[in-house]
Amino acid sequence: MKPILGAAFAALILATGPARAAPLGEDGARHLLVRTGFGATAAEIARLAPLEREAAVDGILRATGTKATLAPPAWVDEPFFPFHKFAALPAEERMAEQRRNAERAFELREWWLRERLATPSPLAERMTLFWHNHFATGQQKVRSGQLMYRQNALLRREALGNFGELLREVSRDPAMLVYLDNAGSRKQAPNENFAREVMELFTLGEGKYAERDIREAARAFTGWSIDRDTGEYRYRPFIHDGGMNTVLGRTGRLGGEDVLEILLARPETATFVTRKLWREFVSPAPDEREVERLGGVLRDSRYSVKPLLRALFLSEAFWSSANRGTLIKSPVDLVVGTMHTFGIRPLDLRPAATASALLGQNLFAPPNVKGWPGGEAWINSATLLGRKQLIDRVFRGNDGMSEVAATQAPANAMAAEPQARLRRVMDRGLASYAVDWDRFLRDVGGGDAQGDRIARLVLAVPPGETPVSGAAGPELVRQLVADPAFQLR
């Protein structure tokens, strides 16, 4: 390792763990920013560095809003297109409607990516995405841009609000009712899909209930449906099973709302959610004693999210040097974080949305109701090469474009590959994703120490491979972003 970088990172490691009352410094500021948002610029780091932990964390928590700052696509206010009308369409119009749904899902992804870049509160967007992953719902099955948008607005509204409220609302959310088949669940033979996942994935966690609890809860949720013409939530008493049932030891004529309260009353629910937040913000290996303590914070605040996040961000584990750079960037982290850090602001965000999808995180289309597994599962040989390809395209500038064309496989060999078209969209579109080097280097500043400052801005941990000696400016950045350490935050 180049001595100068080595010294910088040694200083970073030594600098962690001091009293909370000291200023964050640039490394601490960077850490807080990349963990709570998407990437960090030199200017943002400079603003936060003089603050103490508590002041910095409180500032970030205070800034969170409940609404997106950018207007959504105009069609979100158009009336919902009823499923029964869809089924009655002639084949050709049905195809057109399907294409329109797919296109709208892309427009939502672009809007959400743009919001992440524009928002004054990246934490609110990170938490909205966290809940999208927790209450995972996919447009392939919901087939309505309006319903997906309404759910997204709900997730954002309660992103740092109240988990209990969020659970109650999501359980009546039309997109969720369609996605987990509850909309058609009737007393004669209840559909167990939602009843199972609400326990396994949304509240208690696997193994904390019996199969019988699921069957009984499924009866309680019968009748929670949607209006077939408006797509709004509608309770249908005639298909609701109003009989006696027993869920987790409680017996009565339980309705769905009673089941949710039973689930919220269990201590497992708070620790389950807390453990997942730990993996999002702190490290891949939760400290179970800390999870218990923090779960208590969530319970004591009656599921208010902010006090828990505050306790999490002020925990020793959050700042521990051993936990820095231990989280693998999600595709959204990589794409949005890179664009934000390097000031890449293209007009068209479709290539970015496509890149995230190709790397394994297609927003509004999680692989299943468990969401994206995350962590090490983000990286296999296919996705790692995809990430490297993306980075290579963005940072190599225009001089490499002819090579892209030359290495493109013949069209016929690729025709059978369904991702090929998306890949071409991304390749072509990324030509306009350029780093403004003059501005980037000016913002980093640093004169003789610029190499240091660049390395500490770009990477969370020292590079695995020493940059070629003498590399500076754009060339140094190219080497650092190609390093495995760039995949970490």
Binding site: D181, N191, G325, I328, S381, L384, A409, G464
Partner: protein, 381 residues
């Protein structure tokens, strides 16, 4: 440097000297696993049309006697599986019935973990069952990889650090990008970084031994599964060997309005496997290939009120290959003896199925990797 890396660096000749004379046994076969993601409805795959209980349990979804592709007087395949009938007639298709495990778990995620790690229902294992098998009985030196996962994010039975597994969509694209992988010699204490470094090394080692895809006269079906099957055929044609390939066909979680989507999925499966058979015959690899399906569970015996089926337990799976002993294997669960949850009671432990696959493909005594003593016999004598 770990042992495998060390072995990979030796020439074939020096290795022979190391390991003594090659073991006298059948040549190593290629195992192609196909995951039917979401839980395939076994009862509507291999249809017990003669059983009155079947019609009673499936008033809306039952496949009629005249619609099923009859295999004998009691059972037939779903009509969408027509393209598998030539393999059936040739005695190359086995249907292994009643596969499951004691104390079944009905969560997708936990149950596929049980299948992927070949664990007991109450046991948590970190590595996939194939990974454990390859850690113990490595692929021959010179192989391009132990396993290749095609077109899926999770590595399933090939997950874990004990095997050399790569994931790709197709070989051309993999090789085009492999030049971007770096050889970082170091190891890392940060587990996330260590994982990335390992993937990076596996890419480089496999890239040296993979060759861009060959063309086939066999036509592959359109769509993602057809593309994955084409990739599998290309990998089977690779000069340097590959021990196992895993493909995925998703969408089997048919809780509502199951009939149409399930038929379409089985059609994709049948046409894909038929194309694979054609392509592997074309390159002479069909006799030494075994294709086998698996899924986290089957579905509830009784259909639900939404025209679908909820999560279930035991199910039937396909094994197909040039030397596979065709026919119905195992015993179908009795439809009038369901468990307390209304689910089928398994008749053959899936670990015996896996043991049979390991033995048939690699000749390895399989007991320990998958925790069973009696593997199923899947090949013709």
């Amino acid at each position: 440097m770990d042992r495998r890396h060390f072995l990979a660096g030796l020439s074939a000749a020096s290795l022979l000297a190391l390991s003594g004379p090659a073991r006298a046994q059948a040549p190593r076969k290629l195992l192609i696993l196909v995951e039917l993601k979401g839980g395939n409805d076994g009862l509507n795959t291999l249809v017990p049309f003669a059983d009155p209980a079947y019609r009673r349990l499936r008033p809306r979804l039952a496949i009629g006697r005249d619609d099923a592709l009859r295999l004998d007087d009691e059972r037939g395949l779903h009509p969408s599986l027509e393209s598998l009938m030539p393999a059936w007639s040739a005695g190359e298709l086995a249907l292994v019935q009643g596969l499951g495990y004691p104390d079944p778990n009905l969560s997708h995620f936990r149950s596929i973990e049980i299948w992927d790690t070949a664990s007991r229902s109450d046991e948590y294992l970190d590595e996939g069952w194939l990974t454990r098998a390859f850690a113990k009985h490595p692929s021959p030196p010179g192989y391009a990889a132990d396993g290749v996962v095609v077109g899926a994010a999770d590595l399933g039975p090939l997950s874990g650090a004990g095997a050399r597994t790569i994931a790709l969509a197709n070989p051309e694209q993999f090789l085009r990008n492999a030049r971007l992988a770096r050889s970082t010699a170091g190891t890392a204490t940060n587990p996330s970084l260590a994982h990335i470094l390992r993937v990076e090394r596996d890419i480089q080692r496999s890239a040296d031994r993979l060759h861009p895809g060959r063309e086939f006269t066999t036509a592959f079906p359109a769509g993602p599964f057809g593309a994955a099957v084409r990739t599998a055929a290309q990998l089977a044609a690779n000069r340097e060997g590959i021990s196992a390939i895993r493909l995925t066909l998703g969408g089997f979680d048919t809780h509502a309005n199951q009939a149409g989507p399930h038929a379409a999925l089985l059609r994709q499966l049948g046409e894909g496997l038929a194309a694979l058979r054609g392509a592997l015959k074309e390159i002479g690899r069909w006799p030494d290939t075994i294709v086998a399906t698996y899924s986290e569970f089957g579905r509830r015996a009784q259909e639900n009120q939404s025209g679908g089926t909820d999560h279930g337990t035991a199910s039937v799976h396909f094994v197909i290959g040039g030397q596979v002993r065709g026919g119905l294997a195992g015993r179908a669960p009795a439809l009038d003896q369901l468990d307390a949850g209304g689910n089928l009671v398994f008749t053959t432990d899936f670990r015996a199925y896996y043991g049979g696959l390991l033995e048939a493909a690699y000749g390895t005594p399989a007991g320990q990797e998958v925790g069973v003593a009696q593997p199923l016999r899947l090949l013709r004598a």
